[in-house]
Symmetry: C2
Subunit: 356 residues, 2 copies
């Protein structure tokens, strides 16, 4: 294992196993905190093995279901596949899978919709009960056992801190260049012991590049080589471009009236064809180079970063099309200096957002 | 004037005048930023003089209306009286007067409902246009011209900073002991120049006790001696007490489960008979002495402070019944050490609220 560039920690060599073996650490009724934020950084192998266990149990006439806590939405092979076999008791804090949605609306699984910045705090306070297992994709493990986060951070630090047992998927499909991009902050604390979060501008770093986990909690290390989920892509149409034109005009007007700085304030943007059209418009030369403090980096923002119309973006993960995924991997040497990935508690934190 | 305990600033002696004289500084179409938060600290004399001017103009067949920006709701003699004579063009950021509400719903005056912590920022950014006049009640003016805030702070610092002209009502009905209770913070700033707000616990002070105003902007000083508005009082009924019992049980349960500290976290409370019943329940001995970081201090919270069940409360103003007003004045020597009044931008600030 020490010879593998992704698994550099000798102490964990004995815990490398298949997904089918690792899933034995998840029991019926477990609360499982999984990585994953809008299709990036979710576990790719163990959820499928869990579906098999659910099916095997059903064949014996038994019910096997778990609570699934994540960062945000994941991918059909996680949410959709588990919900389809009735393998989910409770889902939180957010999901967008149509199969899962139908089960929720039919009352067949419980769903708690939580503000994405509140999840780690509420889970740490015990509001959702005890966390049994963390199932987290990482991009690598260093020689001294530090975890290189994957293409999303989400609630991974909280899941690892709270869980009794940690299952890691080490995904070599993720670029090795992710190492060093993240800013993982362990100073949040719970009330009444909180202090200000020292982010005064999107590029500020207040933590370190690695997730921490006591090695004795790591019960399984599962090597994978699977892509993130490419969100289906719809190119901007005429309406989207008209909307984008109005938004860009409005922002330029606010700059002219002195109500916004020339380079605007840090952008927060959503996902979709209208957003991509707006971002393309913002990159059209009307403004000095921009910054973003946002939830996810999507295709349009990658284009701004690549062209230099945006100097840097802070987010908790990616939400990319197939083309966007290819672009990210192709340009990772540059993007890694322009993008900071943080915990979703921080990317979506009202203190920082109000300040910026 | 120097001999008057409330008007200790010799330099302003020449600007003392009646409300009828002072109202001449308000022109038709003016944007007027007024003090006042839920019946406390609103101007008591100039609004009535403004109603007279509106009526006089109407008798001549002319329209006289102004935009009224406040802290929050005020009192019938301000909101209701001005709306009744169609003296308001635009009202923001909040109001609860039935006459004004009817005019708004009939489309006869414009209304902008704004998050109370956003108002000062948005006004400072110019989103509501230029502020012509600040009309602010204070409890006194020191020898060197510092303003002793009244029974609410609201947006007064922003109105004074932004307005061309400042009209002060110096209300000697307000207790002289208010001096020193306030914490007025001038470090908020606008993006991208913001830094953390250094409140780590409700008793923390980050500013000073006075409002600042360049003396040359003060065009009128109007002495008054008028009470704050006593919000009609409805004593807790059986239902309110049942609800209060459930809330207290819930909080005690959370403490037993280790999800809340024994003295809870700082309370934020609303206003009304249910709130008063809940606060009475919290004072029943189930918890160590509490604190509050809230918007307004109401009757039930005064009772907690008086009994020692609450050590201190941070707010932006009072919302009291007639009995509560009498209680506040009677016990001001003690309450002044237990209550901190801040700008509503700070009392309602998401950064501080999320932290605490």
């Amino acid at each position: 294992m020490a010879g593998d560039a992704r698994l550099r920690c000798q102490a964990l060599a004995g815990r490398v196993m298949t997904a089918g073996e690792a899933v034995a650490f998840i029991a019926p009724g477990s609360h499982v905190g999984m990585s994953g934020f809008t299709g990036s950084g979710h576990p790719k192998a163990v959820p499928a093995a869990l579906v098999s266990r659910v099916n095997d149990a059903a064949a014996r006439g038994e019910r096997f279901a778990v609570s699934v806590w994540t960062g945000s939405s994941t991918a059909p092979e996680l949410d959709g596949a588990l919900a389809a076999v009735d393998g989910i008791d409770l889902r939180m804090p957010y999901q967008s899978d149509p199969v899962t949605r139908a089960k929720i609306n039919a009352g067949q699984l419980d769903y708690v919709d939580v503000h994405l910045s509140h999840v780690a705090q509420m889970a740490s306070e015990g509001l959702f009960g005890h966390l049994d297992v963390a199932l987290v994709e990482v991009a690598g493990i260093t020689a001294d056992g530090a975890l290189v986060p994957s293409s999303s951070v989400g609630n991974n630090s909280a899941w690892i801190d709270l869980a009794d047992r940690v299952i890691l998927e080490v995904n070599s499909w993720q670029p090795a260049e992710l190492e060093g991009m993240h800013d993982i902050y362990y100073g949040t604390g719970l009330p009444p012991h909180r202090t200000p979060i020292g982010i005064l501008a999107p590029p500020d770093r207040i933590g370190g590049p690695y997730l921490r986990c006591p090695p004795e909690k790591i019960v399984a290390v599962v090597p994978t080589h699977e892509p993130d989920y490419g969100t289906p892509f719809k190119p901007p149409d005429g309406d989207a471009q008209l909307i984008a034109g109005h938004v860009v005009d409005f922002l330029a007007h606010e700059v002219r009236r002195g109500r916004l700085p020339a380079a605007l304030l840090p952008l927060q943007s959503g996902v979709g064809n209208i957003t991509n059209a707006v971002l393309a418009g913002l990159g059209g030369g009307a403004f000095p180079p921009l910054t973003a403090y946002t939830e996810v980096v999507q295709d349009g923002m990658l284009a701004l970063l690549r062209s230099g119309a945006m100097t840097m973006a802070s987010a908790t993960g990616f939400s990319l099309s197939e083309d966007g995924l290819a672009d990210l991997h192709d340009g990772i040497a540059g993007y890694r200096r322009q993008i900071i990935l943080r915990q979703q508690e921080i990317s979506n934190h009202p203190e920082v957002i109000r300040r910026l």
